[in-house]
């Protein structure tokens, strides 16, 4: 369809970055979400207000932070608060527009697993665990997830619900007392998924250039619903790519 002058990770990150609107407050997870948020703040969203769970509010790092506690975050933040304060006064109080998360596994209803693959008491793979994700997924006004697409990652039912997406379907978030809207978009290296407005089941609404719907279905561990006319993701612009590459280049140094 087009000569790929960018990688699938790059279009994933750029597309995720575009999901962040200028002026939003964004609770940023480390890794892919942090990269995408930093691309956004350097392109269309200069007033994106980034919060990291280490307590740095309004950070504007001049390179990619290597962890949620990177010193560059404290040096460039509007203010640094304690960890209880960022979770209680900011996240729990419902002040954050968007929570930006990664995941090891996600299921049909956008529930997220970052705890174990396999049985909890006898896991095949022990993952890092919850971190801030359960409450980010619960309390941010909306959640955006960025992760690579594969049948092992996109499963019918996650092995462990670390963070609740849309539970088992409509009404579950309300029943559980979760104040935010939950995952509104999942951006992968193949395309974009959004929950169906009625059933809350994740639905393919966009595919990246060079990707066919069949590719996405093949990389998804359940019978993936597809929107009537999935949108073709606009290609990354030269400006977006150059920002992204300078950031990841920096991070690799």
């Amino acid at each position: 369809m087009t000569t790929l002058t960018w990688t699938s990770d790059e279009i994933m990150t750029v597309t995720a970055a575009r999901s962040l609107r200028d002026g939003m407050s964004c609770f940023v997870g480390i890794g892919l979400p942090s990269t995408a948020a930093n691309v956004a703040s350097r392109t269309h969203a200069p007033d994106l207000w980034m919060i990291y769970e280490s307590g740095t509010l309004g950070a504007s790092p001049d390179r990619l932070p290597l962890s949620i506690g990177d010193g560059i975050l404290a040096e460039t933040a509007d203010t640094v608060v304690s960890v209880p304060e960022v979770f209680n006064y900011w996240l729990q109080a419902g002040r954050i527009d968007v929570g930006f998360l990664g995941a090891a596994q996600i299921d049909r209803y956008g529930n997220i697993n970052t705890t174990v693959i396999g049985d909890y008491d006898d896991p095949k793979v022990r993952l890092p665990g919850a971190g801030g994700a359960p409450e980010i997924a619960a309390s941010c006004r909306e959640v955006i997830v960025i992760m690579r697409h594969s049948r092992r990652a996109f499963v019918d039912k996650v092995d462990f619900i670390t963070s609740v997406g849309h539970g088992a379907g409509p009404g579950d978030r309300e029943r559980l007392g979760l104040t935010g809207a939950g995952p509104v978009r999942i951006i992968t290296d193949l395309g974009v998924l959004e929950p169906d407005p009625i059933t809350r089941e994740l639905t393919l609404v966009g595919v990246h250039p060079g990707v066919e719907v069949a590719d996405v279905r093949a990389a998804t561990g359940w019978d993936l619903r597809v929107a009537e006319d999935p949108r073709r993701t606009p290609e990354p612009s030269g400006a977006e790519l150059s920002v992204l590459r300078s950031l990841t280049g920096t991070a690799r140094t």
Binding site: L66, L73, V83, T115, P123, A130, G131, G167
Partner: protein, 283 residues
Amino acid sequence: MAVPLNEAVGQLVHDGDTVALEGFTHLIPVAAGHEIIRQGLRDLTLVRMTPDIVYDQLIGAGCARKLVFSWGGNPGVGSLHRFRDAVTRSWPVPLEIEEHSHAGMANRYVAGASGLPFAVLRGYSGTDLVGNNPHIKTITCPFTGQELAAVPALNPDVTIIHAQRADTAGNVQLWGITGIQKEAAMAADRVLVTVEEVVEELEPVPGQVVLPARVVDAVSVVPGGAAPSYAHGYYERDNSAYKDWDAVGRDREAFGAWLAELTGSTGPDTSSTSDPEPVGKGA
């Protein structure tokens, strides 16, 4: 007030204790963790929101019987392989785990620091953490009827943190990302602080947290004591050390060599000479 690190660990940390070595990427008390390994402490319940490579080392060295945590990993690199080996294959000893979210752990420390038996938060609801952790309960608001999560206070026997400075009276000053250190320290029965330096008087610094001497049991001067993590204003994070750990941690033999070097090069005599009370200490 400053005492050598081996004496401080010898006096304050005992086999079977619940020990929190806190830090949020910044100011990780690595040197103190290594001293615990050198002194061969056993059956510890290790507590930390973000256990990283020094916890991987403590676990690999067999110091811990339980880990209480909310996110375990090598930040920016990947997994903790000694932790995985202990959880999935009980090597070198079985490791019990108690898992929370960050919000839960942070509020547990706050309750501990506040002299309350529990904390209330909006959290955990609908997650599988609830079913796998009996310490997460629900509580009903007596005014609105809303259901919320309750978690028990966390009161370590010992909390160990690293800070930039202390004064000669034992007041401790840290700044930059200060994370959960104040709450972790104030929740503990005993507090050990390693510092970059002791100064006559603490010059106030924006963003500082000051821990009054009254809540600090021992200060040990250990320049570089947070390396390979960083100490804001003193030294940068050694990112290559975190990457290099991955290969060591992956392999029991490589880890064994690392452990032999840690305990051998400094010499077991160092700790036993200056730690005259072997009571309650492991081999």
